[in-house]
C-alpha cells in the first residue's frame, strides 16, 4: 500500500477536532470519520445530494482574512479569527474545504434539529405499533435523540392514502412519508427506472408512481431499505416480525457470480428477510429483489430433510456407508457444482481423487446479465471450482460428454452435487443406467431413484466462502440450523474422501482452509477467520484470462474490456 497523496487531502475542524479528508468529501462523511453523527434523512452516501430534509444543519465558519491585505485576522489569543456564518448550513451539501470549522453541538444546531423534527412529526401518524420500520426507523431514533420530546400540535393531522401498492413487492404508506426523495433518486440513478415522483404541494405532497407505471424493477426493494421511515415496506416482510427480534448474519447472495453481500435476518431458526450489506467494491448498498427471495428455499416443499439409502430414510452415517460401498466398486463419474462453496469443491476434488481419479463434470448456468448486480453466470462460485482445480476449463452448457460416457458403459456410479441432470442434458434412460449418489438440499427431477441421497445444507445453514466474478473470496456464516436429518456438506464430503482414500480429511471451513492454503497457490497464507467481511481479491493468474460469460456490471469489467481490447 502506498500512502495516499497528501495534496488530495483537506483538513477541517469539527467540534474542535481536526480531520483530514479527501477533497470533495461532505461534512456528514467527514464527521462520521470522527465518530460524530450528524443526523440526516435525505442524504444517502450512494445517491446524489438534494438537501431537502434540512436535518443535517450545522454551524459553519471559515478563518477570516482581511480582504485588503490578504492577511489573516487574528483574535486576542493570537490565533486566526473564525468568521461564523450567521445561518446554519446543511452538512450533506457542504464539501470540506481547507480550514473549515464546523460546530454540531451548539444551541443553534440543537434548535434547528428540534424544529425540523417537530415539522416532520406534525403530520406523521405515530403508528409505530403497527409500523414495520419501528426499531430501525431514523425518525424514531432522531426524535429520541434530537427531538423535543413532546408535541405542540393540537390540530388534526393530515390524512393520506395508506396501503398503496407501488408494485408487486413494495407497499407505500403515504402518511408516514417524510418526502426525503431517496426512493425517487434511487430509481432514477441506480436501476435507471424512473417511476416515482411527488405530486401536490405543501403538506399535501404525496409520493406516487407515474400514471400507468409500477415500481416493479428487480431492484425495487432497495427503496424499502433506504426509506428512513416506514413509508415503503416490503410486501413479503410486511407484518411478519418486528426487527428487534431478528438476528443478523453476514451472508452472500448466491443468485449470480456477483456475490452481493447480504445480511440474513432470522429469529429462532426461521429466516424472515435478506437485506444488502454494504460493500463498496461489490454491491455498494444494493441487491436485487430476486436474491432476497432465496431464503424461501430453506423451508421449501421439495427440501430434502433426511438422508436416504435404497429409498428409505436413514441416518447420515448409514447413507455414507452405502455411498462408500458404491464408490469402491469403481467406474465413477462426478457431477460437481459451481453452487457449492469453495471448501466443498476442494473436498469434492479429494473425493474424485480418492475414487480412482473419477472424472469431474460441471455444467454452466447462464442467463442474461442486467449490468448491475445480476450477472450472466448464475452460479456463485464458478471461479472457486477453477481455483480449487476441480475443473480447469469453463464448463459446457450441457453434459453431453458425460451422457456419451454413460452410453458407452464407462460409468457405473454417478455422484451428483446440487445439479438437475435432466435440465443439464442427460436423459432419463441414461440416468437409469447408472447408480446415483445425490448430494443436495432439494429433490431434483429424475433423481428420485437415487441409490443414496445425502441431505446437505443451504447457504443459510452453514459457513463457508464463495469466489465471485472479481476473484474476490467472500465468506458467509451460518444463520439458522439445518433440518434434523441433514448433515453439513463438508462433513459428508470429508467422510466420503476419508473412507475412500484412507486418510483423515478436514471437515470444518477453518480446517479445510488450512489444507487449501497449503495446496493452492492463490490461497497461500490465508485463513478462514482471516477473510475480511468485505472479502479479499486473490491472484487468479492465467485463470483470469478465460472467456467468462459475464458482461459489465456494477464495480466489474470483463477482463478483456479492462485490458482495453
Amino acid at each position: 500500500m502506498t500512502a495516499p497523496a497528501q495534496t488530495d487531502l483537506v483538513t477541517v475542524v469539527i467540534d474542535g477536532k481536526e480531520i483530514a479528508v479527501p477533497k470533495g468529501t461532505n461534512i456528514i462523511e467527514a464527521a462520521s470519520r470522527l465518530g460524530i453523527e450528524i443526523p440526516h434523512y435525505c442524504y444517502h452516501p450512494k445517491l446524489s445530494v438534494v438537501g431537502n430534509c434540512r436535518m443535517c444543519l450545522v454551524e459553519m465558519g471559515m478563518p477570516m482574512i482581511d480582504r485588503g491585505s490578504g492577511k489573516p485576522i487574528l483574535d486576542d489569543h493570537g490565533g486566526q479569527k473564525i468568521g461564523w456564518m450567521p445561518r446554519p448550513a446543511i452538512a450533506c451539501a457542504t464539501a470540506a474545504v481547507p480550514g473549515m470549522q464546523i460546530r454540531t453541538t451548539t444551541e443553534l444546531v440543537k434548535q434547528c434539529r428540534e424544529g425540523v423534527m417537530e415539522f416532520l412529526l406534525v403530520n406523521h401518524p405515530l403508528d409505530c405499533p403497527i409500523c414495520d420500520q419501528a426499531g430501525e426507523c431514523r425518525l424514531q431514533e432522531f426524535a429520541t435523540d434530537y427531538g423535543r420530546g413532546y408535541s405542540r400540535f393540537i390540530e388534526e393531522k393530515n390524512v393520506k392514502p395508506k396501503r398503496t401498492r407501488l408494485g408487486p413487492r413494495v407497499m407505500l404508506d403515504d402518511e408516514r412519508c417524510i418526502l426525503c426523495s431517496r426512493c425517487i433518486r434511487f430509481c432514477q440513478e441506480v436501476p435507471k427506472d424512473d417511476v416515482l415522483g411527488f405530486v401536490d404541494r405543501g403538506s399535501y405532497s404525496t409520493l406516487t408512481c407515474y400514471p400507468g407505471k409500477q415500481l416493479e424493477n428487480n431492484y425495487s426493494l432497495n427503496t424499502v431499505d433506504i426509506c428512513p421511515v416506514g413509508a415503503l415496506t416490503s410486501t413479503d416482510f410486511r407484518f411478519k416480525m418486528r426487527v428487534w427480534f431478528l438476528k443478523q448474519t453476514p451472508s452472500i447472495d448466491t443468485e449470480s457470480s456477483v456475490g452481493a453481500n447480504t445480511f440474513v435476518w432470522a429469529r429462532e431458526g426461521k429466516i424472515y428477510r435478506i437485506t444488502p450489506r454494504r460493500n463498496d467494491a461489490v454491491n455498494d448498498t444494493w441487491m436485487a429483489d430476486s436474491g432476497r427471495e432465496l431464503y424461501q428455499q430453506v423451508e421449501a416443499e421439495d427440501r430434502l430433510n433426511a438422508c436416504h439409502a435404497s429409498g428409505k430414510p436413514v441416518p447420515a452415517p448409514e447413507a455414507l456407508q452405502a455411498a462408500v460401498a458404491l464408490l469402491k466398486e469403481g467406474k465413477t463419474a462426478i457431477v460437481g457444482s459451481a453452487r457449492a462453496s469453495l471448501e466443498e469443491q476442494f473436498l469434492l476434488k479429494k473425493v474424485a481423487r480418492a475414487a480412482g481419479g473419477a472424472p469431474v463434470h460441471l455444467v454452466a448456468h447462464t442467463g442474461e446479465g442486467d449490468g448491475l448486480l445480476v450477472s450472466a453466470d448464475r452460479t456463485p462460485n464458478l471461479r472457486g471450482a477453477l481455483l480449487t482445480g476441480l475443473i480447469d476449463t469453463l464448463p459446457p452448457a450441457s453434459l453431453e460428454a458425460l451422457g456419451a460416457a454413460i452410453d458407452a458403459g464407462e460409468v457405473q456410479t454417478l455422484v451428483v452435487v446440487r445439479e438437475d441432470l435432466l435440465a443439464a442434458g442427460l436423459t432419463e434412460a441414461q440416468l437409469e443406467r447408472v447408480r446415483i449418489i445425490h448430494l443436495d438440499t432439494h429433490r431434483r427431477p429424475g433423481l428420485e431413484r437415487a441409490a443414496v441421497v445425502l441431505a446437505g445444507l443451504t447457504v443459510f445453514e452453514k459457513a463457508g466462502s464463495f469466489v465471485n466474478q472479481q476473484f474476490r473470496v467472500q465468506k458467509f456464516q451460518k444463520a439458522v440450523p439445518g433440518p434434523g436429518g441433514a448433515a453439513e456438506d463438508l462433513f459428508l464430503l470429508a467422510t466420503l474422501a476419508a473412507e475412500l482414500g484412507g486418510e483423515s480429511m478436514p471437515s470444518t471451513p477453518a480446517s479445510v482452509w488450512q489444507a487449501m492454503a497449503a495446496e493452492i497457490a492463490a490461497f497461500r497464507g490465508m485463513t478462514f477467520a482471516g477473510i475480511p467481511d468485505d472479502g479479499v481479491v486473490v491472484e487468479a493468474g492465467r485463470l483470469a484470462e478465460l472467456p467468462f460469460v459475464e458482461g459489465e456490471s456494477l464495480h466489474y469489467k470483463p477482463a478483456a474490456e479492462a485490458a482495453g481490447v
Binding site: 401518524p125 409505530c128 405499533p129 403497527i130 419501528a134 388534526e156 393531522k157 393530515n158 390524512v159 393520506k160 395508506k162 396501503r163 401536490d200 399535501y204 404525496t206 410486511r238 407484518f239 411478519k240 416480525m241 418486528r242 428487534w244 427480534f245
Partner: protein
C-alpha cells in the same frame, strides 16, 4: 472480644414454668373466643384490590374492536418469554381495515407467566391487562397455553379513554384529504 450479655437469673416462680404456662393458656384462650379470620375460599372470594396483577388478558374496546395490533412489544419485554405472537394483516374489506395489523394468534403460556405486569405497562394500545383472575388450572401443559380466543374471553371489554383508531377513521372520512 466476645461481647458478654448479662442474663437475669430466673426467679423461683419462673423456674417452675407454671406462670409462663398459665400466661400462655390465657393468650390462647383469648384467641379461642375471638372471631376467625379464615376465608372459606371456593364460596367466599377475596376482595381483589385495585391494581391487582392477575392473569394477563386481551381486551376489546367498547366498540368490540380487538385492541391488540401485534406490535410484539409485550413479547419483547416479557421476562420469562411467556408471550408468543403471530402477527397478521387485517383484510382490506374488514370494518377495522384502517388498523391494518392484528394478531393472527396470541399465545400466553400461563405456566411461564410471572405476573410482573410489564406487558401491560409496555402496551402502546392498552390492549393487554392483568385482570382479577388469579386461579389458573388445567390438566395438561398445552391447555395452559392460552390462545387468542381464550385471552379475549377472559379479557372482555374495558372502557377506553382515547378511541385512537376510531378518531383516525373519522379523520379519514371527514378528511384533510386533498
Amino acid at each position: 472480644m466476645a461481647k458478654v450479655i448479662p442474663r437475669k437469673p430466673l426467679t423461683l416462680a419462673e423456674r417452675t414454668y407454671l406462670p409462663q404456662v398459665l400466661g400462655g393458656l390465657k393468650t390462647t384462650f383469648k384467641r379461642m373466643v375471638s372471631p376467625n379470620v379464615t376465608l372459606e375460599y371456593p364460596e367466599e372470594r377475596p376482595v381483589i384490590p385495585e391494581g391487582y396483577r392477575g392473569v394477563p388478558t386481551l381486551v376489546k374496546d367498547p366498540d368490540g374492536r380487538e385492541k391488540c395490533v401485534s406490535c410484539q412489544l409485550c413479547e419483547f419485554v416479557c421476562p420469562p418469554k411467556a408471550i408468543k405472537i403471530f402477527p397478521g394483516e387485517i383484510p382490506e374489506d374488514a370494518p377495522t381495515a384502517h388498523v391494518e395489523k392484528a394478531p393472527r394468534d396470541f399465545q400466553i403460556d400461563m405456566l411461564r407467566c410471572i405476573y410482573c405486569g410489564l406487558c401491560q405497562e409496555v402496551c402502546p394500545e392498552e390492549a393487554i391487562f392483568l385482570q382479577e383472575i388469579f386461579s389458573v388450572t388445567g390438566y395438561t401443559r398445552s391447555e395452559l397455553v392460552y390462545n387468542k380466543q381464550k385471552l379475549y374471553e377472559l379479557g372482555g371489554t374495558l372502557p377506553d379513554r382515547h378511541f385512537k383508531w376510531e378518531k383516525k377513521r373519522q379523520a379519514a372520512e371527514r378528511g384533510h384529504q386533498h
